[in-house]
Symmetry: none
Subunit: 195 residues, 4 copies
DNA sequence: CGTTAAACGAGACGGTACGTCTGGTCTTTCC
DNA sequence: GGAAAGACCAGACGTACCGTCTCGTTTAACG
């Protein structure tokens, strides 16, 4: 009988050590070369402690990054009243983040995980993407109220056009990630959804 | 000394058998479960024959798909004189292709390969994406001549807006892939680049 | 770090299965054709379990035979008071054993192992040959007490003369292994060490 | 069809190069580490040229040593009229040869080959051992004529007793190989076959 | 506060696949 | 057509991890 473990007795110290070790190893070695064996050794933890609480390597890595992002709960976008300016501020920051080499290895690992495993894809949408997207849509709704965006705009589609080109360019290295590019994304998207 | 092999003596029969086996196994098992060992066995080939000519499993899989796409050299887009109609034709076909479940496993494997390995990313851009993009840009230039697209349009950016939302939606399963979606992509992109 | 395994956690079941499989394969295939891979498969054991506890194929085979011989601890020679008769009894038995075809393959394998690897040669002398020789010398000392062998006889040399011709004849197939040959070895050796 | 090669067209230059390379590699690496691959490379010869003319690695090594020994045809033993003295001369030389470290690796390789392969055992007896033994027996027959050895002595058995202890001691490193040992072998053997 | 149940660290286990190496065969190119 | 060169199929090598399974040893809730 594969007894289900009792979460109340779970060791927080071990959980933290495992997630820390996972993050450290991803940064050092890249995704493909990280093994559960190595995570356990680095965390000073038995392998079974990992298998007890996570179903796969992907899930561990996913949680390691999820935990990182959790800290920022109040993720509301700036709202100065000027949609274009606010979006450019956000997109310039986002582009800069993607252009950071230190960001590269771990976030690429995270994305590979999500793309490869449908279960994680769903978890990603629900736990990470959805709240963030909701915050973005709040800002867009505010703009709709202010008459800066048509009321019938499909906000999901709007966000897809705003972010997908950047995501694809980063994933496939098909072009430079510059502030000008960030501005262009905003300009073109706003033009696309103009009445 | 790790002697470099002599391509003149390479066995074409073995090369084909390996690429065929790789394609078959990817379709049957998915990318993660395919091993070089299995490819060699299926192809009736010694493992060394694979290691002699390819540096990694990713490279084999990449070549297997590259060879498939090579067949279509004359990949010009339709040109009826009506850009919007032609783009909708093409995008509806593309969307349908991505929505095909049989397309899913192998193409996802191929994309993971490309995203995970920078060397393959570069190879992908040069050998696969570039020619295809050039064909698309030819159609767009024709539209510029016809006055259906501004002459100063950044064609790479245009294609990014046209395709990236679809690519992201497919990769992360963030929405349905329907003919209406294909039409919307064309409509919005054309609107985005209107003068 | 090449961690040293903890013998306390060693699986006796696996150890036995490996030694049994080694013996069986040697008998069936002969030494040269036995691989660690085959031993592991036959024993239903992971290869690493062999590599964890033995440094080489030779060491496994050596242990397999060592374990066989261990069972006879009380290996005292017969002592009827008549040295010649007792030696002929023993040598006839030994010659018969060497003449047995079932004995051939495994024991030849074992001897090749010992002859080829100085480390195993030493282990053989200490763990197998020495105790057996000591038992033989006990019988000879008893004969010395009984006045059937000079007190200053070099017992090691005596045993060398008694056994080496048989060993060489078996190794190189230079003559028949018959009871008469056994008797002749005893007669000639006793004559050689007569005062 | 496995066409049999025509010996008349055989390249003597290649044959010599192969045997030389085999000898050199045995001396340098020991028997176990020598591969046909290495012999071919060292000899500047295609592997097929070896496989065309020899059935196995053992056969090549055997031939390599056979060719060495062939040169000494007139291998008569000294005959001063004093059997004991002549035998001690010969045995001291033989013991010294076996004690020579440079002799060790190649001759051990040669012996392993012979012991492991029955076909080579037979070839060894016929082509190498038999002529040498015949020369030794000629000396013993001369001693029989001179009344130094009984006329009914089994000469093969005599040689077995004289040489087997030395051979076994060398193979299994069970004792020192000294001139005193050589003398003892002669003394004891002569005593053994005294009337 | 002692008992007890479960999580823990450690690590051996049966396995799979790795990437390398060698054996013996087959093919190509040259002489 | 023999021989050098070397690619080929085959499969063993020894290593790295997989996910499972004991081991004792904490650790924390319960009695």
């Amino acid at each position: 009988m594969p007894r289900t473990p009792n979460p109340a007795l779970r060791s927080e110290r071990s959980r933290q050590a495992i997630l820390d070790a996972a993050r450290a190893l991803i940064s050092e070695l890249g995704y493909a070369k990280v093994s559960i064996e190595a995570i356990a050794a680095r965390a000073g933890v038995g392998k079974q402690t990992i298998y007890r609480w996570w179903p796969s390597k992907g899930a561990v890595i996913f949680d390691a990054f999820l935990a990182l992002s959790d800290q920022g709960d109040g993720m509301a976008l700036p709202d100065t009243g000027d949609l274009e300016a606010d979006l450019k501020t956000v997109m310039r920051a986002t582009v800069a983040e993607f252009a950071d080499p230190a960001f590269e290895a771990p976030v690429r690992a995270f994305n590979l995980e999500i793309i490869a495993d449908p279960a994680l894809t769903a978890q990603y949408r629900e736990k990470l993407a959805a709240p963030v997207d909701e915050a973005k849509k709040d800002r867009l709704r505010s703009a709709q109220q202010a008459g800066q965006l048509p009321l019938d705009t499909d906000l999901d589609l709007f966000l897809e056009f705003l972010y997908a080109p950047l995501y694809q360019r980063w994933l496939l290295s098909t072009g430079p990630l510059t502030p000008e590019y960030a501005d262009a994304l905003v300009d073109i998207t706003l033009q696309a959804f103009r009445p």
